[in-house]
Amino acid sequence: METLASLGDGFAIALTWQNLGLALLGCFLGTIMGALPGLGPSNGVAILIPLAFTLGLGATPSLILLTSVYYGAMYGGRISSILLNIPGDEPAMMTCLDGYPMARKGLAGEALSLSGIASFVGAFFATWGLILLAPQLVKIALLFGPAEYFALFALAFMTLGGVSSTNQAKSAFAAALGLGLATIGVDTQTGVPRFTFGEVHLYDGLDFLVAIVGLFALSEVFIFLETRHGGAEADGKKMEIGRLYPPMSMVKQCTPTMLRTSVLGFLAGVLPGAGASLGSFISYSMEKRLVDKEGTFGKGDPRGVAAPEAGNNAAAGGALVPMLALGVPGSGTTAVLLAVLLALNITPGPLLFTQNPDVVWGLIAALFIANFMLLAMNIPMVGIFTRVLMIPSRVLMPIVAMVSFVGIYGISGSSFDLLVMIGFGVMGWLLRKFDVPLVPIILGTLLGNSMENNLRRAITIDNGNWLTLFDSPLALTLWAIAIIGFILPLVVGRKVKASMHEKRDQPGSTAD
C-alpha cells in the first residue's frame, strides 16, 4: 500500500503539462532514433543530454525526457528490423529473424503492430517489476559472481542452435567468428593489446554498432547493387503491407509468449553484466525451444516477433533496477542515464529510494506514461512506417547507405570506424553468399568479451581451479539448463529436421 501511495505521489509529480510534453517529445524522438540504423538508445540519450541542460530542466523533468527517449528507442529499433532486415540497434537484432519474413509474406502491418503490443507488454510488466521487486531483485544480482556469469553466457551460446534454421555448423562457425573478433583490443586481465597491430583505434576493441551496421545494412546495399546489375528484380517494391492491426487470434496466440518472455527479459536486464541484447536473445531461443513444434520460427512466426520484442523492452525496464538501486549500469544506455543523475547531483545507490523518493517515483510514473504514449503513438503510425516498403529499392538503398555512413561518423567522428564498417559490409556480403547466418557473429562479438573476462576472473579468484565454475547451486542450475537446451534438440530435433528438409530451398531468414 505504501508503494501505491508513493506511486501516486510520483504521478502527481509527472503529470504536469511540461512533463507530459517532454515525455511526448522524448517518445517521438526516441522512436525515430531507434529506427535509424546506427543510432541506438545510448546515443539517442547522449545526444539529448545537452538539450535537457540547455532547457535548464530540473532532475525529474530531465529524467522523464531521457527515459522516454530510452523506451522510445527500444520500441523504434524493431521498425527497421521488420521492414528492411536491418536492426535499428543491438537488441532489435533478434526481431529480424521472424519480423522480416513476416513482412515478406505481406504481413508487415501485423508484424509492426504486434511487436508494438509486445513491446508494451514487456515494458509494462518490467515497470511493475521495478516498483514491486527492486529491493529484492538487487539480491539476485548479488548471487551472480564471475562463475555464474560465465555459466549464463555459456547457456546463451549453447542455445544458439535455436537461432538459425539453416545449417547448425554454419551458425557455430559464425559464433566462433564473432568470438574471435571479440578478442581484438586490450585484454583487461593482463593489460596486453591483442590483434591491434599498433593501431590505437583498435585498443578498445570493435564497436558492436559499427559491426551491426556494416554486416546488416551495408551488405544489404551490396546485395542490391549486385542483383540490379544482374537484372534481377528488386523485391522491395512488390511488397504488400497487409492489415494495420493484428487479428485477435494472433494476439491471443502470442499472449503466453509475451508473458513468459517479459519475465525472462526482465531478469536478464536486472543482471548488470547481461543487458537487453542477452534478454531478447534468450527470450527468442527459449521460446523457440518451447513452442516451435512445426519449425515455423525463422519463417515469419508471429511468436518469433513477439518474443524478442517483449524480452528486450522488459530488459530495458530491468536494467533500471541495478542502476537505481546499486548505481551500477546494466547496459550502455543506463550508463548514460547514470551519468546524467550524477550531473544532476543525485547519487544513485542503495539509499536513492529513501533519499530522493520524488526522483525515483516521478521517474517510475514517467515510465508508465511514456509506455502508454508509445503504444498510442506506435499503432496508428504503423501505416506511415509501412510506406517505407513502397519506396523503390533504388531510392531506398542509397538512403540506407547514407544513413549508415552519417550515423556512424556522427557518433564516433572517426573515419577509421567507417573503414571498419565497410570491411564488415564486405564480410556480410560474402557470408550471405555462403548462407552463413549473421546474428551469431554479432552475438559472439557482443557477449564474447564479457564471457571471456568472467571466465578468467572466476579462475583467477580461485587460483586456477577450474572446478570453481561448478561450485554454486546457481551455477549448476544454469549449466543444467544449458546442457538440456543443447542436447534436447539433438534428440527430439529429428522430426523437425525432416520437415525442414522439404523446405531446404528456402534459405533461412538471416541469410538472405
Binding site: A46, I49, V186, T188, Q189, P348, L351, S412, G413
Partner: protein, 328 residues
Amino acid sequence: MIFNATRTFVAAAVLGVSALAANAQFMPESPECIAPANPGGGWDFTCRQVGKTLQDLGLIDKTMQVVNLAGGGGGVAYAEVVNKRNDSNDLIVAASSATATRLAQGAFPGNTMDQVRWVASVGADYGVIAVAANSEITSLTQLLDQIKADPTSVSVAGGSAVGGWDHLKVLIAASAYGIEDVRKVKYIAFDGGGEAVTQLLAGSVQAFTGDISEAKGFVDSGDIKVIAVLAPERLDGEFADFPTAREQGVDAIGANWRGFYAPGGMSDEAYDAWVSKIGELYASDEWKAVMAANGMAPLDLQGDAFQTFVSESVAQIQNISREIGIIK
C-alpha cells in the same frame, strides 16, 4: 587565422558588454569539450558537469558541445587532438590519472605528454581500499599482512584493467608496506568500479580498490567499510571517519585527479583564458557543491603548476610500472 581572430574579436566586443570579466578578450566561439570515452564514464561526466557549470556561471555564453571520442583508453582522442586539432582555440579535453598512467606506460603509441598544453585540475578523487561490512578485516595493515602471508587468499577487485590506476593504487600501498614482489598481489579487473563493488558485496572478492566516489553510496548504506583512504591527511565532512593509510603506517598516496588538456598549438591568449575560466569555476560555490556531492577532494592547480604536477605524476607512474614489470 586572421579572419578567425577578427571574428573572435568582434564576437568578444559584442558579447563583452554582458560579460565584463577579466578575460573578456577571449571568448570561445563554439566551446567544445572532448570526452575521450563513451557517454557515461568519468571523462564524460567531467566534460558535461564543467560545461554546464561554466554556462551557469556565465563564463561561456554558448552551451559547451561535448564530443565523445572513445577509443584506446583516451589514445584516439589524444592522437586526434595532436594530429588534427592542434590549432583549435575552442577545445579542451577531459583527462585524469588514467591519461597520465597511459602516457607514462607508452600506451598512446607515438604520443607524449608534452604534445599538449595542460590547463587545470578541477578536483581529485582519493583512492580507497574497502572490504565488505561483515569482513573480519578492519584495518589496512591486517589486509596487507594477509596478502603478505598468502597472496592467493585475497582477491582485490577494481574497475580498471591490469596496470591501470586502480591496480597501481593497491600496489603502491603493498609496496609501501614492504611486500617485495607486488606482482603476486591478486588483482581482478572489472568493467568499472560499480561492478567491482557489486562483486565485493556478492562475496566473490575480498577487497576493493577504487575511488571514493565509487564507494560513497555503499558506505552510506552500510554495505562496505573503507579501511584506508590514500590521502595525505583525513578528508573533511562526512569522509572524516575514513582512516588514512599514512596513519596506519603505510605511506601511500593515490589520487585520481580530474582536469583538462588543450591542443599544443592553442594561442597563449586562449590558453590563459581557459586557465582563468577553469580557475574561476573551481573557486565558485556551485563547483564546491558539485565536488561535495561527488566526494571529490580539493586539488587546485592551474596553468604551469598543473603542467608540473602532471609531469611529476607521469614520472612516478613510470617508476612503479617499471618495478612491477609492466614497462621495461
